[in-house]
């Protein structure tokens, strides 16, 4: 079964024919080629697939593409403007918030959602906002410092 999906992805309005049982993750990665969104645990436990839906963080691995009808979806690819990284991306780069990089798109999208809601979060608020995202390299300290640098 397929349906017509109308939505906005990274600021561009799209209309696609998608299978009803297609996950948002596979729609982004396979159908649109936006492979910045990562497939990690497949159970909603790691946060690597975090994208923004109407400014809220959302797990693309446990969301159906057709549920995004009329919604505004943003992925890591949408943050850079005119070939320049966003302030948050730049901060992750400069403060070494990235090591292997696999969790980074999810981390940045979860932090982006926080900063849109609360541009000057405390350390505790940053930790709470990133609670659903696992990183196996950094020990989180550099990630929190990166978000702090972007919010200062």
């Amino acid at each position: 079964m397929k349906s017509i999906l109308t939505l906005t992805v990274n600021g561009r309005r799209r209309e696609d024919l998608v299978p009803d049982n297609l996950l948002l993750l596979d729609y982004l990665r396979e159908q649109l080629g936006l492979t910045g969104t990562k497939q990690g645990c497949d159970g909603g436990e790691c946060g690597a697939c975090t994208v923004l839906v109407d400014d809220q963080p959302r797990l693309a691995c446990s969301t159906l593409a057709v549920q995004m009808q009329g919604r505004r979806v943003e992925t890591i690819e949408g943050l850079a403007k005119g070939g320049r990284m966003s302030r948050l991306q730049q901060a992750f780069h400069e403060k070494l918030g990235t090591q292997c990089g696999f969790c980074t798109p999810g981390m940045i999208m979860a932090a982006e959602a926080l900063l849109r809601r609360n541009p000057h979060p405390s350390r505790e608020e940053i930790k709470a906002a990133l609670a659903g995202n696992l990183c196996r390299c950094t020990g989180y300290v550099k990630i929190i410092e990166s978000v702090e640098a972007a919010s200062g």
Partner: protein, 319 residues
């Protein structure tokens, strides 16, 4: 590409349409935030023929005052529930204790209440379960937790239900034969394989919270990963202090049995909260919580921790 069952997804705009679609399509399931159901479907736990997505039903998403009571739509997300000013603190606390922020942005009140029971032998991939000869809850004929049992012992791990139970909340169910209101506790039965009492085709539409002047309530849980996990055990309590004695007392537990259960502690009413009362409560909890080997943490810890948590929680409510 990830495989999900080949389903038709319906996106009704009204509750009436949702109920009609459910009645018309055999084997269909309701879907809300998807944080429980879609994860399970990806592991082969369920083969619905269709999914009826309730997230487009506008009137499920409201929180409003109706006289003295607070009506919370089942489609309200846990994130919205946690930050709404009219929501009682104990309920906001329970909502905030569910999973991580990303789940709470999608997961709904109704979806949380109707979440599937869980077991270390059930929440596994198809090949894992197959190599273990499956289990009573799905495809198998033997419970891996209690070998000689004819019922499934999968555990209910929802955080919100016990909080609603001590807040004396009711659920409004809408089905093909009209609407009915039941106490939240009556939504469940203690059978892991079919723990919900909703009739075929019924949908949980609204949770109704009565005013509780003079009561204090709270919810506590323990989990492996504090940032995100289901409760290994959870306890909600509500207390009304009448001078130096307990005037009213309600407690409910989760993460221990196949349903969230109320702990009948009527014998505590009229006496002060002291060491003797705490011992009585511990005894009642020991009888009520039948913790089994359904999580990777052993049952001994979960049995003990629920008593400790309950005592601390009542200490706080009494102070």
């Amino acid at each position: 590409m990830n495989l999900l069952p080949d389903v038709r997804v319906h996106r009704p705009a009204t509750l009436e349409e949702a109920v009609r679609l459910k009645a018309a399509s055999e084997g269909a399931r309701f879907l809300a935030g998807g944080t429980d159901l879609l994860v399970n479907l990806r592991r082969g736990l369920g083969e619905p023929t269709a999914l009826i997505d309730l997230t487009a039903v506008a009137d499920l998403g409201a929180i409003r005052r109706e006289g003295e009571a607070l009506w919370v739509g089942a489609g309200v997300t846990l994130a919205d529930l946690a930050r709404h000013p009219d929501v009682p603190p104990a309920l906001a606390e329970a909502a905030l204790a569910v999973a991580g922020p990303t789940h709470r942005a999608a997961a709904t009140l109704g979806g949380n209440l109707c979440q599937d029971t869980r077991c270390v032998f059930y929440n596994q991939s198809q090949w894992w379960r197959e190599s273990n000869s499956f289990c009573l809850k799905k495809e198998g004929d033997k419970c891996q937790v209690v070998a000689k049992s004819d019922r499934c012992y999968a555990t209910y791990h929802g955080d919100i239900a016990p909080a609603l139970m001590v807040l004396d909340a009711e659920a409004l169910l809408v089905g093909p034969d009209g609407a009915r209101r039941v106490k939240v506790a009556e939504l469940y039965r203690e059978t892991g394989a079919s723990h919900l009492t909703l009739a075929e085709g019924e949908v949980l539409a609204v949770v109704v919270l009565p005013p509780l002047p003079g009561w204090r309530a709270a919810y506590r849980k323990v989990r492996i990963r504090d940032a995100i996990d289901f409760p290994l055990a959870g306890v909600a309590g509500a207390l009304k202090r009448n001078g130096d004695v307990i005037g009213g007392f309600r407690m409910a537990i989760t993460g221990t049995n196949s349903a969230p259960l109320a702990v009948d502690a009527a014998e505590l009413i009229g006496r002060p909260w002291d060491a003797d009362a705490a011992a009585v409560l511990a005894q009642l909890l020991r009888k009520k919580a039948s913790v089994l080997r359904t999580t990777i943490v052993g049952p001994a810890y979960r049995r003990r921790v629920i008593q400790g948590m309950a005592r601390k929680l009542v200490d706080e409510l009494w102070a």
